[in-house]
Amino acid sequence: MIGLGLRLLTATAVAALAFALPASAQDKVKIGYAISKTGPNAGGASITQIPNYEMWVKDVMAKGGLKVGDKRLPIEVIEYDDRSNSEEALRAVERLVTEDKVDLLFPPWGTGLNLAVGPAFNKYGYPQLAFSAVTDRAPDLAKRWPNSFWLLGTSKQYVDALTGLLKKMRDEGKIGPNIAMISISDGFGIDLSQAARKGFTDAGFKLAYDKSYPIGTQDLSPLIGEAQRSGADTFVAFSYPPDTMALTEQSKVASYAPKVMFLGVGVGFPMYAQRFGANVEGIMSLGGWSKDNANTAAYAKKHEEMFKRGPDRWGSQIGYASLQMLEQAIERVGKIDRAAIIKELQTGTFDTVLGKVKLVDNMMQDNFWLIGQWQDGFFAGVAPQRAGVGTPVVPKPAWKN
């Protein structure tokens, strides 16, 4: 039976190959990706990642194709669903490389899956421009797999930026020394809260409340109540989109109004402002957007036209920028020479929606906002200190009904 299965498989593989093999030399560029279209990762993938892939392909095709050498080549996309599963993601990448013979790979969504496929990207020498993974191991990983780029940064970067802001507010007497912190029991929340625990206490803050909660918690009011009773006037939650929504709504219902309210993934989603309207004012989160950047504004507009919703105000622009970097690296190399492309990505300077980007040790350096805050209906970047930085508004305005 297994023998039969394998024969069947080889037959389909051969058929797929015959169908897919380019007739002559390079007359098109094949790009493959396996991403979570179903399963628990699908929510994040379909807001932050898949739209960027589709949009970039459309943009490149509108220009007449991907510039390779002196020609513009059409892009052929092969996409698989990894079902939010590490094993499936790994197998899909192997299939894309060895069976579909793709020229380039796009990364999957999330820390776990990017790590699962890391060895395969490395083994076959494909650049891996991960922009939906926050991991403190990023510098090690970039060393281990020089083809991998960790564009969204490390937990420490975010925490340092946030701590810097809070410290300044405290020194100006705007907030007290106590912080209430909650985090989701997943790699993201635990990495960030671990870094924050150290960062906050080193900066002289006291954690009046510090708990984690499991994925799938449907009522966060007990945690909000405890945070409220802790007396802290700064509330920090490293949360996922469904909890971020619930935290906002249940805080409003409980009239919980800390002076600083920092929430996790989802604050930058278009549906967040849609759902909470004026009540988003003053809420802080990861990411941020430049008010005076015409490029990102145009990008947001295009995104809205194409998908009927704006981009995520955290990872989305970084994702699009990573694709622009890839595009320019290919153009400069002049052929699909993956080793040369990786080299160019490591050393070159690129013109992206975020502005000029030059990677250091395969990571971005202050190219994007780490912390943002909703101000006058705009999710403005308030840290790190760079051109166009906004001044954080404290205290957060009261809830409106």
């Binding site: 984690s212 499991p214 709504e249 989802g266």
Partner: protein
Amino acid sequence: MLFEVTLSGVTLGGMYALVAMGLTLQYGVARIMNLSYGELLIAAAFAALWFYSGLAINPLIGLVVVPPIAFALSYAIYRILVQPLVSRAKTRDALEVDSILATFGLLFVIQGVMLALFGGAYFSYSFLAVPLKIAGATVAANRLLALLLAVAIGLGLYLGLTRTRIGTAVRAVAVDPVAAQLVAIDVRTASALAFALGGALVAAAGVLVSMFLTFNANLGVVFTLKALVVVIMGGVGNLLGALIAGLILGLVENYVAVFVDPGLTLAATYAIFLLVLLVRPQGILGRSSR
């Protein structure tokens, strides 16, 4: 503070009970282990969202419109998809296996349709997110509504099942389909009605839940499994059992969050569930099967 935690626990529990009641009917009476149960809940949530943001219609009107549609749909599903399996099944075990497989397929189909229509992104909207003060404690109006409806449906159906002729027939089928047939009860129709009613209930739950939870097309399974836990804990086919089990889970979750550690809430609910089963293998209000 204790009162406030209790109140929020009870509202959460009410939501769990509401989500589970339809399943206890479907499984207890129609004897179909419906794994696609949660998908219907999400579909109803999408419908409510569409009413609210697409047509600017109050989701409470959705509460009147959506359940009847779900009733019809579930009735059709039972007649077309499930009945052939019931007719051919020689034993209860065989039917169980078949219904697990078939509804597992149905789960994927419904989920796939929703993915095709809405993609995998998260959706949510705000409705009735206003604080209500009850004896000094605050509770969100939309969550309280879910609790009240759970109690109303639980009691209403309980009365309907115990005080009406159809209800008696349905209960008879739940106890023993073969004997019910002997006393001239149309087992097929009673089962189909119970299955459809279960579908209508879960749709009502979906509309209510959409007012305060963030959902996406992949979330159905989460509700199916939660509902299964509540149904089994309460005793299969027992509406009051589902209500009690839901409330216990909600209270445990919130008490543990406040007094022990929020990281252990789900561990505690599963531990309570397992303990209840070890003490009472047939569930809190379940009948002993042998």
